[in-house]
Amino acid sequence: MMALPQFFDLQGYGHLLMEGAAITVGVGIAAMAVSLVLGMLGALARLSERRWLRRTGAVYTTVVRGVPELVLMLIVYYGGTVLLQKLLSLSGGDIRVDIDAFLAGTIVLGFVYGAYATEIFRGAFLAIPQGQIDAGQAYAMSPGQIFFRIKLPQAWRLAIPGLGNLWLTLLKATSITSVIGLTELARQSDLIKSPTHKPFTTFFLASLLYLAMTALSDLLRLRAERWASAGFRRS
């Protein structure tokens, strides 16, 4: 068996893991932003009075859950650029638009987790005590005012636990972008497993990095929950 320091020696390739982790966080944040937007839109669609909106929202959430992220990622990456090029060529002009791996990853992850965020926001909106909305109406608030002053702040508070969970899942799901070549942590570890001749060490250290990110995210989530609950007295 190898001596411990020898076991952990990644022969100079180790820093690539840290760079990969940085990209993991980067694409995670970008995708989270997209999924928050899509989630809010989706929840509003599913709760809307218009049936076609409700239907679209429902289709969105079910379709997205039905296809593996890996496959979605490959479709968007290989097919998406061609589609975009065709669309653009219709307007004339040879604009070269490139969906690089980062963008493809952000789009797919944002799209997929937007569906989960939809469910979280929808549950959050449904959980707001009806009395609050009634009170707002009694004060002759417009629907817009009710939404922005009563519904939205409370929905955020109620959504934070679910969103915190979403972030953790999303962070791990960034590993799928490795199949389209994005040099995040999973990809980097896959790349250096051969030159270092130490695949176990490589993946184990990568695991530790993921665990560190998860643990840190957990801490941040607890703080966010506390912040969002400020002023909320549990009656």
Partner: protein
């Protein structure tokens, strides 16, 4: 919202970049980065190898400003078609099925192909000097996906279990782990990879080395999109120029002890 804004920025930048076309043309070159010694990534994370040096010299000859990027082998041709880049300099063989989709320059080197097997696997050469297909029956041969080697193995050796990998390096790793009995790839790559590993003594080449024409390949070429004949011809001319003025041979000498250009 954010996405639309982002797209708008991308359009703007692309349009501006197109407008600001200087004397030097801008070319993006794709290589795999997992195929040493032709192309690989070193500890700094930068691309190195024969293909990389060759591409840089090629761009000089073309008077072009080049960016060399990394692209997974699977997506190499789709990426070229989708205009993610303009040239493929990644040790890609000029095969008929590839020529249906993209164009190639003249060959820039000839790749020797060989089968390297575990000595204890019982794979032997036949009377003609090449690997005996019968001795391969039921064995596991590791190849990279989307290569001529995968196609050849499936067509010529139907009794073989062809195991496909994303990259040559992954296949080598499994060979040392004992998951496959043989590797079928470019011989120089195999010499650099599996035959340089700690357990290299367990492996040996079986049978003769194949030349590109045995595969129906004209050699390794530079990939160019269809419809860009002038770029393709410029590249072919540049290759010949590099042969004439010795710059090719200089790069060759850095990596190999023989002239891989062939012919």
């Amino acid at each position: 919202m954010k996405f639309v804004r982002f797209l708008a920025v991308v359009f703007a930048v692309a349009a501006l970049a197109g407008a600001a076309q200087a004397d030097k043309r801008k070319l993006i070159v794709a290589t795999e980065g997992a195929y040493p010694p032709y192309n690989f990534v070193d500890a700094d994370g930068s691309l190195q190898g024969f293909d990389v040096d060759f591409a840089k010299a090629l761009c000089e000859k073309l008077n072009a400003d080049c960016d060399i990027i990394k692209q997974d082998w699977d997506g190499m041709i789709p990426g070229l078609i989708a205009k993610k880049y303009d040239l493929i300099v990644a040790s890609m063989g000029i095969l008929p099925e590839r020529e249906e989709k993209i164009d190639f320059s003249i060959p820039y080197y000839q790749s020797p192909t060989a089968l390297v097997a575990n000595k204890s696997a019982g794979i032997t050469a036949g009377a003609d000097g090449f690997v005996d297909p019968e001795s391969l029956a039921g064995k596991k041969v590791g190849v990279q996906r989307a290569t001529a080697y995968e196609t050849f193995a499936r067509q010529k050796w139907p009794k073989v279990e062809v195991v496909v990998y994303d990259s040559s390096e992954s296949a080598d790793l499994d060979m040392t782990a004992g998951r496959i009995d043989a590797r079928f790839d470019d011989f120089i790559v195999l010499q650099n990879g599996i035959l340089k590993s700690d357990s290299a003594a367990d492996y040996a080449r079986v049978g003769n080395i194949w030349a590109e024409k045995d595969f129906g390949s004209k050699g390794e070429g530079i990939g160019v999109r269809k419809g860009e004949e002038d770029l393709r011809d410029a590249v072919s001319k540049a290759i010949l120029d590099m042969r004439a003025d010795g710059s090719y041979q200089k790069i060759d000498a850095k990596y190999f002890d023989f002239d891989i250009y062939g012919e």
